[in-house]
Amino acid sequence: MNKNFGLVLLLGLPVLALVPAVRPADAAQVQARVSDEHGKPVADAVVTLVPADTAVPSPDLVPSRATAVVDQRDETFVPYVVVVAKGGTVVFRNSDKTRHHVYSFSPIKQFEFVLSPGDSSAPVAFDAPGIAAIGCNIHDFMTAFVYVADTPFVAQTDRDGHAMIADLPPGSYSARIWHPLLRPSAALPAQTIQVPDGGAELSSTLSLMAPPHRDHEHGLY
């Protein structure tokens, strides 16, 4: 069952990407590759492109009809980062045998509820763009992020650090890359790229913090 939801999740992005591709006939695509300072591919980085000149028509953001699912298995939120379009909803599901107390104090969306094993939450709607940090009050080490995008040109890197944004009108774009492990004080990496008809490639290097290790078995210290 979990694999089915994973398939849905994986299918979510192409769906998102395919929406604008319906309209302009002369669509281009951007291949993005994100790596860390050591050259290792970085997964779960979110790449967004914002048109930088007026020649590019502002894309219409179609509210997503799909609902993203964030499962909780082995006391881990899966996926770690989920991208939803503004107005999209996320269902939190507990596949563990323990309770989870899911919360978010993020300004874009604050909620909290307890999920008994096997329960799923009601869909949580994210109406404001931004990033919501999701935690479990019972298991502090459990973290997930909901990226609420207000643009259709958004993609999330896979395990190889690759992400593809398709159906782009050629033009000049401002590219932004976000990752949960970016230092809070650091400015988000951004760059302007020209996307020709044939598409473009985007390469970015992130300086990330060490992932918080899951050390609940050894206590907090």
Partner: protein, 785 residues
């Protein structure tokens, strides 16, 4: 200082020095070790203290981390409900012992501060932004900080929801209570003080030893890396300043730790006391040992020294032969043989000094010494006998010194044998040819018997080979105590007696003090006599001579009298004999002649025809100037020669050399009348007398004194008178003491009489009165002619 003491002192000094040095080096070493140990301990303690502080920080951080997980708090923080946050922080701050808690936003601004609860409108930046970064990266920031003159543990932890949304900063005061707790937890030094730099001074923050701060360098200067060695209130201390890590923007906070050397040494005090006691015991033992050693070394030396003192006193007993084979042993053996050699030599010298080399008998001084205790102890009578070999000189001259010596030796052996037989004291060789022996408890009679035995002993001649030598022994005897009480006196007097014995027939003489010419008082007497003659204090007495036929005093015999100024009357026999012995008789005779002839002249001037009779000594006859001097005197005074009668004893003229006869003849030729005195007792030979120019015989008074009662005397006197007359001599009788004798003599036809019955000798003035008063008148000049 004696050898033994010096040795003991040296050993003790060495020991004390060594022990003192040992103690000093032990002390120095212990001290140095303690200093090193103290430095190490201080460094360890500083490290421990920092770790303890870190643990406090960690503990606080953990507590705060737990606090930061509180859901409600996180919710309040996330929703910036500052009043809720403030009360929650206050509530939780008490739990972790915090004095102050702050909420710091992700931008570094202080949003909530329990120290300033009202002031949330204008947030101020957090003072230590580095700690925020550390907390963001590593989950916590912890450090000692100084705020407002106080020191705190500042702990900063992020508040995650689940990503960091803010930071909680907690200030735990570092105060005495905390230090006490730390000191209770771990072995921290007692002296520990936290301080911080405050306005150019070290401000004490917490701790037990603020005094230590005075020994830190000035604030702002670099702190020494290692401990300082210094003196705090008279105690030596090691001081270590350990700066605590503080974030940028905070004044320095320093932990100062002290290590008291004195206190550290104090724990060694029992050991020091024990060491001291051991040292003292060791010293006592060593002193005893040193004394024993010194004694064992010095004892033999002292023994030897004592031995040399004995040698000095004359005791040559060898010192105990010490068993050791070292130098002392050799010295002791050497001293022993030296003592023996000296003893033998001294014995030989002593023997030589005390013994006569020829005979081996005691010499004079040794004999005296040997006899002295006998005389002193016993106070007994006895006789000192000297046996002399009168002919020895002659014998030596004839047969030589060697035989003479052997003869002497033989004589000594004979005497020794005789004396030994009688068990008497030993014989001494007191002169070159005389021996002395002492016979105790004998009177004169017994001594004479012994003397007889001695002379008989030498009747047997000495024989050597063909040689036979007759060594005539003479014996002189002095009796103790009458002749002397000391050995020397007795020896002297026995010597005198020996001289007398040589001239005597019996060859034995007992000392006679009256005829001893050597008596000491005689020496002064002679000088007095000479003085008396010079000063005319001698006096001539005159004894009348009666012309028996005429019944007139026809002359006088001049007799010298001496009244000594100190001794009183000195008997004529004494000083005349003395003058003869000492050669003064001629002067005396000269004086008597002077005075006597002058008196005769005086009588003549009074018209008295008195002959003066003067005695001559045998020695006067040796004076060849005598006749001339007599002639001169007679001429000077105008006295006819036949008015002078010179009386000479029989012995004086018998057997004398021709010179004496010649003197007599010359006197006679001058007309001087010569008279033979004491006629009848000597060995006069009438035939010899006949050849002399003698004109008068004076019958010895021994025949006259008892003439009236003794028929023999009467016969002799009558015969002598007749014989004298027939030979042409005038005859005078001496010693007439009664009228009967006077009558008898007158009857016999004796020419002149003299004696007490007529008159005693008297001074010249008395004699003159006697001539006037007596029944016999002095013969007048006219009658004589």
């Amino acid at each position: 200082m004696g050898f033994r003491r010096r040795l003991t002192v040296f050993l003790m000094t060495t020991l004390v020095l060594v022990q003192a040095l040992t103690a000093a080096s032990v002390y120095t070493f212990t001290r140095a070790t303690l200093i090193e140990q103290g430095k190490g301990q201080l460094a360890d303690a500083a490290g421990l203290f920092v770790r303890q502080l870190d643990e406090i920080g960690t503990q606080v951080a953990s507590d705060v981390q737990v606090l930061a997980l509180d859901f409600a708090l996180r919710q309040a923080i996330a929703q910036r409900e500052h009043q809720t946050v403030l009360s929650a922080l206050r509530n939780h701050g008490g739990r972790v012992g915090a004095a102050r808690m702050m909420l710091v936003g992700l931008d570094g601004a202080v949003e909530v501060d329990t120290a300033q609860p009202g002031d949330t409108a204008s947030p101020v930046p957090f003072a230590f932004p580095g700690m925020i970064d550390a907390a963001a990266v590593s989950g916590r920031g912890a450090s000692v900080v100084a705020i407002g003159g106080q020191a705190f543990w500042m702990v900063v932890v992020p508040v995650k929801a689940p990503v960091p949304i803010a930071f909680i900063a907690v200030c735990v005061p570092l105060n005495d209570a905390l230090l006490n707790k730390l000191q209770g937890l771990a072995a921290l030094p007692k002296a520990i003080e936290l301080t911080l730099e405050d306005g150019g001074a070290w401000r004490p923050v917490a701790g037990t030893a603020p005094l230590l701060l005075d020994h830190l360098p000035k604030p702002g200067a670099a702190l020494p890396a290692g401990p300082l060695q210094t003196v705090v209130q008279g105690n030596e201390e090691l001081v270590l300043a350990a700066p605590l890590a503080t974030p940028g923007g905070s004044p320095r906070v320093v932990a100062v730790l002290g290590y008291s050397l004195d206190e550290a040494l104090r724990q060694y005090q029992p050991i020091m006391v024990a060491i001291g006691v051991l040292l003292a015991l060791g010293l006592i033992l060593a002193l005893a040992g040193a004394m024993l050693v010194a004694r064992s070394v010095a004892r033999p030396v002292e023994l030897l020294a004592a031995a040399t003192r004995r040698f000095e006193a004359g005791d040559y007993t060898p010192p105990p032969l010490l068993p050791q084979e070292d130098e002392i042993g050799q010295l002791s053996a050497g001293l022993g043989s030296m003592a023996r050699a000296i003893g033998e030599r001294e014995e030989r010298i002593r023997h030589q000094a005390a013994h006569d080399p020829t005979t081996g008998l005691l010499n004079r001084s040794a004999f005296e010494a040997a006899l002295a205790p006998v005389l002193a102890a016993r106070h007994m009578s006895g006789a000192l006998v000297i046996v002399g070999l009168a002919r020895l000189q002659e014998i030596v001259n004839t047969v030589g010194r060697e035989i003479g010596d052997r003869l002497l030796r033989d004589a000594g052996e004979r005497l020794t044998a005789l004396i030994a037989e009688a068990g008497r004291v030993q014989v001494g060789a007191v002169g070159e040819r005389s021996f002395a022996l002492f016979l105790p408890g004998l009177d004169e009679y017994a001594v004479r018997a012994w003397a007889e035995r001695i002379t008989q002993l030498f009747d047997r001649p000495y024989q050597e080979g063909d040689l036979t030598i007759d060594s005539a022994a003479v014996v002189g005897i002095a009796l103790a105590p009458v002749h002397g009480q000391s050995t020397a006196e007795l020896l002297l007097h026995a010597d005198v007696a020996l001289m007398m014995a040589i001239g005597s027939e019996t060859r034995v003489a007992v000392y006679d003090p009256t005829i001893d010419p050597h008596r000491a008082d005689h020496l002064s007497l002679m000088s007095d006599l000479r003085e008396a003659m010079d000063q005319n204090t001698l006096e001539l007495f005159y004894q009348p001579k009666l012309d028996l036929a005429a019944g007139r005093i026809s002359g006088a015999e001049a007799l010298v009298r001496w009244r000594h100024s100190k001794r009183g009357f000195v008997p004529p026999d004494t000083f005349i004999g003395l003058a003869e012995e000492t050669g003064n008789i001629q002067r005396l005779t000269r004086w008597v002649l002077d005075v006597g002839i002058a008196q005769a002249a005086a009588w003549r001037q009074k018209g008295l025809a008195l002959k003066i009779a003067i005695n001559l000594s045998v020695r006067d006859l040796a004076d060849e100037g005598l006749p001339e001097r007599v002639a001169n005197l007679l001429a000077t005074h105008g006295v006819p020669a036949d008015n002078l009668v010179l009386e000479v004893t029989e012995s004086a003229i018998m057997g004398k050399p021709d010179t004496a006869i010649a003197v007599l003849r010359r006197l006679a030729n001058q007309g001087v009348v010569l008279s033979v005195d004491d006629f009848g007792v000597g060995q006069s030979s009438l035939s010899y007398l006949r050849r002399l120019p003698v004109r008068e015989l004076k019958i010895d008074k021994s025949f006259i004194l008892k003439l009236a009662e003794t028929p023999d005397d009467r016969t002799i006197v009558q015969s002598v008178v007749e014989l004298g007359h027939r030979l042409g001599y005038s005859v005078t009788a001496e010693g007439i003491e009664d009228e009967a004798t006077l009558a008898l003599l007158a009857g016999y036809g004796c020419d002149h009489g003299q004696g007490y019955h007529i008159a005693k000798p008297m001074p010249a003035d008395v004699f003159n009165r006697f001539l006037n008063d007596a029944r016999w008148r002095g013969k007048r000049l006219q009658e004589a002619s």
